[in-house]
């Protein structure tokens, strides 16, 4: 187990190094961040002074060396745009994104898995065909368009939900969250729903496929021969067997939702990390880009670790293999 963890940490470190090199080379290839940020009325001397001040006149290798040295001493640097420590900047926006991503995943799971089970259990029923049809819409219709439609319908026309922003943030079990206030929940509904649609479609299709395959498997026939009712067969035996691919996809989707919820965040003006990272790319705010990507790699590693541990719980065979 310890060896397994150690291996994962090494992997993560390697990915972080490669990625930071790619970002450095990428920004260098685009050009000098000062040229994007500088005021058009600045003169030549000022431009040169600014470039020197941020060390951008140094060779790329030297710039990277200083960056690596600072990171190893725990300093990821300051944003060039905000002059705030980048981790503080990113983490101040992390709770909003986490809350949105979690709510979206919960909606997708609570709605998607039961619908998928039903569609797999009764593949020929009219209701299943409707579910499958809608699931195709779920991941083929662009998120931004659905988001705009939701705003138009619920905020502008009917006027029962706000069009964007994060509402009043309260405290629940000591954690500041929108879920603690009614106003906060109202603000959360539309963006969370918007973000969940793609995942919902995916989970429906995945669950249905697993169900259909499992329902014709030998163990299901044996269980039925044993005289177990359909409900018991599905919830005690089938669900456990089809859970592994669902958990894998769930983990990956959760990670990508956290890291790249930017479209939904933009349309609903949700104060999450997505908007911050897009702006820092536009202004070539390199410290923020690098720190954000390091955080993303870290998140994926943690999520994958949790997923792997969950496998063990779901399937004892994996546990024994892992232990040996």
């Amino acid at each position: 187990m310890l060896g397994f963890l150690f291996q994962r940490v090494l992997q993560a470190a390697a990915v972080i190094v490669v990625m930071s090199v790619v970002v450095f080379i990428g920004v260098y290839a685009i050009g000098n961040p000062i040229d994007v940020m500088i005021d058009p009325a600045a003169d030549q001397k000022l431009r040169a002074a600014l470039i020197a001040r941020y060390g951008l006149d140094q060779p790329l290798v030297v710039q990277y060396f200083y960056f690596a040295k600072n990171v190893l001493s725990g300093d990821l640097g300051e944003s060039m745009v905000y002059r705030l420590p980048v981790m503080q900047l990113i983490l101040s926006r992390f709770p909003a994104t986490l809350e949105l991503a979690l709510s979206a995943m919960v909606i997708a799971t609570v709605v998607g898995i039961p619908l998928g089970i039903w569609a797999g259990y009764r593949p020929d029923a009219m209701s299943s065909k409707v579910i499958m049809g809608l699931s195709v819409l779920g991941f083929s219709v662009p998120t931004f368009w659905v988001g705009l439609l939701l705003i138009l319908a619920f905020a502008v026309e009917i006027g029962i939900l706000p069009s964007g922003g994060r509402g009043t943030v309260g405290t629940l079990f000591g954690i500041p969250t929108s879920l603690a206030t009614w106003d906060g929940i109202q603000h959360l509904i539309l963006p969370a729903l918007n973000l969940s649609l793609f995942k919902m479609g995916l989970l429906i299709r995945l669950t249905r496929a697993g169900m259909q395959e499992a329902m014709s498997a030998d163990y299901v026939r044996f269980a039925r021969a044993q005289g177990l009712g359909d409900g018991e067969v599905i919830f005690r035996h089938v669900l456990k067997n089809i859970a592994i691919p669902i958990v894998t996809v769930f983990g990956l989707e959760f990670g990508s939702t956290l890291a790249f919820a930017v479209v939904t965040e933009t349309i609903f003006n949700w104060p999450g990390m997505g908007k911050l990272i897009i702006d820092s790319i536009i202004t070539l705010d390199r410290p923020v880009m690098v720190a954000y990507l390091i955080l993303v790699v870290f998140l994926f590693v943690v999520i994958n670790l949790v997923v792997d541990l969950a496998y063990g719980q779901l399937d004892p065979r994996i546990r024994t293999r892992g232990a040996s």
Binding site: D35, A41, D43, G164
Partner: protein, 526 residues
């Protein structure tokens, strides 16, 4: 039956109370949906337009500007040059900071000296670089010694925000963002802000100027156009800025909103590279040629003649613009009223190209931004098509600003278009940077990447910079404007207009050319 009446009565009463409450709240609070906000609450951190706009609520500048960017008194009530290298500013008496202390010349001196120590990559030193020394004469008099003659110093000081000396040199962005150092003399007091989030301010009762109509103002940053319009339509905000042209068209039929339009300072200008060799050679009949056709004034004139500006405005910008004939609005200091409207004449353009030796035209790449100003990419593509009717093959490339500006700085473009706003309201800001021959010693021509160089222009321009007498300087700058525009050093296309929208009959204000949305200049509509 009785119960029915009772219910109706309650409902009606609730409605009355509800409406009263709603209008009461509206009369006191203003919520604005803005496209962009500040990067910091430190007014000396950045020259970003949206930063200055937001911080004008909390801080005042030494010299003020009206809605057409012409100078007016602010913290300084008057200013005059006392010799070639000294300006004297008389301060307004009895101005209070938000903490109750009084504004003195020491605070202004401190603010000038603080800028080089704390400013960021969008460096505010561009507004103080002419200052050699600030001298406090008495409590309300400040003398500024300049490096050489600085005729436009008061124009530079329209961006000189004044902070109290007692915050000390150590106060930086975090102390301002937390509110500890965010002490100004402005119409509103700072309440809270976070990056990319809401800026909340409340009325300062001790303000020296007109008392603001709003007790509390929230500036919500909503960068996405569709989201900002939705916030207005769903009633989350009272007013939004930067309404896109397509929404403006549909709002004309919408009875629930009012719209406000104004010319902006932003003009889309085309720059032909006139260096001896182009970074990417021009082609005739598909074969590369060594010479640069745009070195010939006839070719530049032909390119100018082929642009149908009226169509650009009417079709591409949906009416939200005006044809431009120079780099600034004609009301600005140094703009020329003698310049004629630009002519559109396709036949003459073809004829001039033939005279210049390009009867079959030539082929060139044409770069422009696609995310900087409304309609920039669309105008770029339309201009390329107009040129193709004159026989030129121009390949329009609309690029993200992140890619465009570094490439422009490196001199990779042969022909390009970008927006420029004369934010100080006078000519030297624009022509000094874009048209003057690059000269690092004089700090001129920093953004002149076209290779244009005209000794006559340079001489008159430098003379203008040193001329303290306003009418004489104005005449010199008008002359330089005419020279460079007749030379087609840059080819202006259209002045962009800005649109605001509010809930029907809720607010009234005078739209500004600098596009700023200032809560203290907005009043509830009676």
């Amino acid at each position: 039956m009785k119960l029915g009446y009772f219910k109706t009565g309650v409902a009606a009463a609730a409605l009355v109370i509800g409406t009263a409450f709603a209008t009461g709240a509206l009369a006191q609070n203003l919520t604005i949906g803005v496209r962009a906000g500040p990067d910091s609450i430190d007014p000396h951190w950045s020259t970003l337009g949206s930063q200055a706009e937001a911080l004008r609520h909390i801080f005042d500048t030494l010299v003020g500007v009206d809605e057409n960017l012409q100078l007016q008194p602010a913290l300084a009530v008057s200013w005059k040059p006392i010799d070639d290298t000294t300006w004297e500013f008389k301060l307004r008496e009895g101005v209070k900071f938000h903490d109750g202390s009084e504004l003195t010349a020491e605070d202004v001196k401190f603010s000038i000296e603080r800028i080089p120590a704390v400013t960021g990559p969008m460096s505010m030193t561009i507004y103080t670089k002419r200052v050699k020394e600030a001298i406090v004469v008495d409590k309300y008099t400040l003398q500024v010694k300049t490096n050489g003659t600085a005729a436009t110093l008061p124009n530079d000081f329209i961006r000189l925000f004044v902070v109290p000396k007692k915050i000390g040199m150590e106060a930086r962005n975090d102390q301002f963002n937390s509110g500890a150092a965010a002490i100004g003399t402005g119409p509103f007091k700072f309440v809270s802000w976070e990056p990319k989030g809401d800026l909340v301010v409340e009325r300062f009762d001790g303000y020296w100027g007109q008392r603001p109509a709003w007790a509390k103002v929230v500036r919500k940053e909503i960068p996405n156009d569709a989201a900002r319009i939705a916030a207005l339509k769903s009633g989350q905000v009272d007013l939004v800025n930067y309404v896109p042209a397509t929404d403006y068209a549909s709002m004309q039929k919408d009875k629930s909103v009012d719209t406000f339009i104004a010319d902006s300072v932003y003009i889309l200008n085309i720059t032909p590279n006139v260096k001896e060799t182009l970074p990417k050679k021009a082609k005739v009949d598909g074969k590369e040629i060594d010479q640069n056709p745009m070195r010939d004034l006839k070719v530049r004139e032909a390119m100018d003649l082929a642009i149908d500006r009226k169509t650009l405005v009417r079709v591409v910008l949906e009416g939200l613009g005006k044809p431009a004939n120079q780099l600034m609005p004609v009301t600005f200091f140094g703009a020329s009223k003698a310049l004629p409207e630009r002519e559109y004449n396709l036949n003459k353009a073809k004829q001039m190209l033939a005279e210049a030796g390009y009867p079959k035209g030539f082929e060139l790449d044409f770069a422009c931004t696609n995310n900087r100003l409304p309609g920039d990419a669309a105008v770029c593509e339309a201009v390329a098509q107009m040129w193709s009717r004159a026989g030129l093959k121009i390949n329009a490339q609309a690029l993200n600003g992140t890619v465009f500006f570094p490439a422009q700085q490196k001199g990779e473009f042969s022909l390009w278009m970008s927006g420029w706003g004369t934010l100080t309201g006078e000519a030297s800001y624009t022509y000094g940077s874009l048209v003057h021959t690059p000269d690092a010693e004089l700090g001129l021509g920093a953004f002149n990447k076209s290779g244009y160089s005209n000794p006559e222009f340079d001489k008159l321009f430098q003379e203008g910079q040193k001329t303290l007498d306003d009418p004489k300087r104005r005449a010199l700058f008008e002359k330089t404007t005419e020279i460079s525009m007749n030379d087609r050093a840059l080819i202006p296309t259209v002045i962009l207009q800005t649109v605001w929208a509010s809930k029907k009959d809720s607010v009234t204000f005078v739209p500004r050319v600098d596009q700023e949305t200032l809560a203290h200049l907005i009043t509830p509509k009676k």
